[in-house]
Symmetry: C2
Amino acid sequence: MKLTVLGSSSALPTSERFSSAHVLNAHERLFLIDCGEGTQIQLRKNRIRFSRINHVFISHLHGDHIFGLYGLLSTLSLMGRKSPLRLYAPESYDSILLTHLKDFDIHLSYEIDFVPLKSKDPLIILDEKYLTVTSFPLKHRVQSFGFLFREKNRERNIIKGIIEELGIPVERIPAIKRGEDFLTPEGLVIKNNDLTMPPDKPLSYAYCSDTKYFPRLASFVKDVTMLYHESTFDKSKEDLAAMTFHSTTIDAARTALKANAGTLIIGHFSSRYKKIGPLVEEARTVFHRTFPAVDGRSYEITNAIIDY
Amino acid sequence: MKLTVLGSSSALPTSERFSSAHVLNAHERLFLIDCGEGTQIQLRKNRIRFSRINHVFISHLHGDHIFGLYGLLSTLSLMGRKSPLRLYAPESYDSILLTHLKDFDIHLSYEIDFVPLKSKDPLIILDEKYLTVTSFPLKHRVQSFGFLFREKNRERNIIKGIIEELGIPVERIPAIKRGEDFLTPEGLVIKNNDLTMPPDKPLSYAYCSDTKYFPRLASFVKDVTMLYHESTFDKSKEDLAAMTFHSTTIDAARTALKANAGTLIIGHFSSRYKKIGPLVEEARTVFHRTFPAVDGRSYEITNAIIDY
């Protein structure tokens, strides 16, 4: 799994930072998460093929998370897209989008399969072969949702050399990876434990933006491999954060710590911050493995320890 | 007068070219013309102060000319703008914008003074001390307007040294610049022709996008100092241009020639063109003083001969 940050700014984009948008690559399937103004331009700059995006997740209906969507939808149509696009967004957006398409007399070349977000509890909104996506509620000025992308349980790892040693036929390998034993031609049962090692821990990525701090959030993203959490403000601005229903660096780090996250990526920085380094340092006083979201940067999501 | 191009692409932005947006600086007043996605980002990159923009002109309701407006309006509000913003756009946009603000629960910190465009003939839509702006109809798939920014008649130029020679009091100078004669203390009338030279030719800039070729267009922009005209396609694509109500390089150049324009800037290039040089060369076969619109480039609008 790999995350690419397309925009790391909050309400006001800067000359260095676009509005919110992330692309998650999970098993070579691309998921676009939020779509701030300029997302299509950032997709091009990062050489991400538009046609590979089949799912778009919108966390909430504030412009810096969605004003790039109209342009992207039009562009996909101009490119002749045929396959449906699944769009997950707060429920009221369904009619807003229909009105927009009518007002601008836009006839898309493809269907939009709209999935309304409304659940007040974590809810699986996509269940695929390798992955589930769960939405969960955040606490913001408007209805806002986080998203958890989690690999399904991985297969067990076959012990190096054992296939050749026992002459295991290729067609038996998938079953053994799933946990079955192996019966030798001589009628001997080799227990799966002697053939395989436990699977790697499934990878996961959670996206939390925009929200104020609340303790229950950590339970929604428990043990996540990589947590993205907004940090609009530094810790000195905690009053402003509370007032605007946003988080400080410390809020993000507390949630990461409480959730036992592997790595924390902070972003959605206020345009007042020219340098992001001090924000990262601040978060690290609470949660050491904190890294900044940087436009155009990709982050490998892995159980290994990597400096991003 | 100075033009800054913020976006030179047509429907699909590329990694090099944003969607349509121009900023005209006339006597230190800024006019934003079209507002494609990413305009606010380009304004920042080009260090153009948002607060100096008081007039926004939208040529037509296609996304690549307007999808940056929602973000810009929100940003101006977040920046605490108080003074009204004058918005000129096709008449149906008034209710579209109101619906948008309601849907996203946006309460702007300033008033939008909406000027509906609907005239089928050239019409002065702004009349200021130094400048008039005239809208004129284009021929596109939807109602589309061009804009002509024209300096008012300039004042006459006082002949060098004449003030000192005749001892003309400072308070008489404005009247003499307007064409009045000068009465000496001795009662002698000095004719204005002996005091001044004719004024410089007033400067003008016309914006023509999107449109197919039509002969009458040249009359709307007659003798313009600098003509911007869309050239979505090269001349080999004239059928496609006709079908989509766009122009080729040759169409743009013919209009410039017929209008007796000083200089032609072509833009709104299809994303199929990686290099713009050949398009410029093509237009120059008809109208020699053709230059390309380039994102971030500024063009001095002057009666002098300049290579841009």
